[in-house]
């Protein structure tokens, strides 16, 4: 199978405040032009439906709200290997992003590199906008992803 180069995937629910930060980052990235094989994906609330497409890419960047225990607005960058062995939360209410990727690994070869960008949320409740704290970090994350794309050989035009 011929693999495309990079996918940038925003995950989250835009109706639930900071939960939607990943989708907002992808929406801003959609305003730029790219030379090179990049696919921007707004996975919304349906990451489980997107995960089966990961096998078509060499590298995947996933952006989501992440509860990592630091102050609201903290930006994290980590790889799948960094959370290997992490026991998911006791609750069973969701096929989380990481659990979905592990499920996908059962039936397909994963991309060589999976990078996560996470933003610690402040407010997760019914709202169609981000909190000011998280909103203030969106452009920073966008820039980090542009840097990451450039480093992978993609030309990005503003």
């Amino acid at each position: 199978m011929c693999k495309k180069k990079i996918a940038v995937i925003g995950v989250g629910n835009i109706l639930m405040g900071d939960e939607g930060v990943g989708v907002e980052v992808v929406r801003r990235l959609e305003r730029l032009k790219y030379l090179g094989e990049v696919e921007l994906i707004d996975a919304g609330t349906a990451f489980l439906d997107v995960v089966t497409g990961l096998r078509s890419f060499e590298k995947v960047i996933i952006i989501d709200a992440v509860h990592g225990g630091e102050a609201a607005g903290t930006v994290y960058r980590f790889k799948l290997d960094d959370v290997e062995g992490d026991k998911p939360a006791v609750s069973l209410h969701d096929f989380g992003v990481i659990e979905s990727i592990r499920l996908e690994r059962l039936i397909a070869e994963l991309p060589k590199e999976i990078v996560f960008y996470g933003v610690e949320p402040q407010i997760i409740k019914l709202a169609m906008q981000l909190s000011p704290t998280v909103e203030g970090k969106v452009d920073y994350v966008v820039q980090k992803i542009i840097d990451e794309l450039i480093a992978s050989g993609v030309q990005v035009q503003r």
């Binding site: 609330t45 225990g69 930006v75 969701d94």
Partner: protein
Amino acid sequence: MATKITIDPITRIEGHMKIEATVDGGTVKDAQCAGTLFRGFEIILRGRDPRDAQRITQRVCGVCPAVHCTASTLNLDSAFDIADKIPDNGRILRNIVLGSNYLQSHILHFYHLTALDYVDVAAVAAYNGSDPELKSLKGFISRGELAPFIPRYEGDYRFDKSTNQELSKHYLTALEMRRLAHEMLTLFGGKMPHNAAVVPGGITEHPTVDKIAGFLWRLNKLRDFIDNTYIPDVIAVAKAYPEYFKIGAGPGNFLCYGAFDLDGTNKNYATRKRLFSQGAVEDMRNYKALDPSKITESVKHSWYDGEDSVHPSNNKTLPNARKADGYSWIRSPRYEGKVYEVGPLARWVVSYFAGQPQVKASLDTCIKTLGVELKDLNSVLGRHAARALDSKLVADSMAEWILELKPGEPVCTAYEIPDESDGMGIVDGPRGALGHWIKIKDKKIERYQLVVPTTWNGSPKDEKNQPGPMEQSLMDTAVKDTKNPYELVRIVRSFDPCLACSVHTISIKGAKLGAMRVV
């Protein structure tokens, strides 16, 4: 002495739901089913362009975006007065989009949410052979990655080791099958997920010979899987756990809005010809035609202010978390003031009594094969069997519909947004009856209401103190071990509960993320 059992959360995916069952003398004497998260998506829609409803309601849930998309567009078609003007290509492609969603949803439910209550996947840990899939699954288990998917409650497992291994393998095959169903939807849904193609007036994607061919080979693989793996596996579970035809009976009243429009010229959704028939069946025998004016919602035990027995089109969302009688964020939808179950079983019972010939033939064969009576289907296993039959009929029907498409002919009709109008969109999704209601004023949404399937099934008691369907299904169930109430988990799971809440935050518990912060 009575023991109170709390199961929270109950769904493996998508949901914040809590069950409290009081067990006395070994059986359930009282059950309370509670939605634990406020959902007020209706509030977000107020004052917006009506067309936003299609985009926004799809985002309330990660599992059923396609059916919210269908219900919201039917709702807008009716509000824009074009419900009888959708071109055949548009009508058929909408059926194809919804049908593909049915298949992935049912397969996910049986294999990834239900099967592990009956199949001992731990048997794979002892596997020493060379089958690549079983080896892959063994590694998954040994790395501890299975943890989120196995039941929190130990089951009573009855299959032998090799059957457990074989059925566990199907868990993997089913992942691949879901992928195919998802690709089928993508062919005609445009942007995915949260498809953009299904719009008021029809659909924006044109059928082409290439897409039809790409759809058909995938569908045929799925049909083979449904006929030769899914249905036999459901039968295997039914034969190994036969008493589950006597466990988990709901109210015996079934409601179906119908699904898959076969005729686009009748603007009345309650009477237009659909693959599954609209209607209500009381006491597993009396069929009545569907009258949407008889749908009401009560809030007696819900954390909302307002009147009881109000039609959804007149309802307001007035949350009140301190309400004294409240125990759930779910309202109590009722039909003719009575408690009705919705979902695949309801769809099959209603269509059966409405005389839908394919449903009648198929359900009669099913009962004979399983050696049960029709009334036994009001049970845990009846719900699983109906879901499998549902998959087969929808898949087989799609194989015919896809050939009715006419490449080059219109897919969509034009419309104008009226200054003032009311609309209703009713359709059965994989989990059952879904209704959207809209009121438009000055070309904007003045009021929008959704009544989703899990609010029917997971509803709390109403003002007449009638328990909801899931609450009734738990009553009188024998619980062997109150610390390990797998019987109750199996009952609740058979309804495929799904509460649209959809928070998908990554939560890291073990690894130290502080070291990975970049700002």
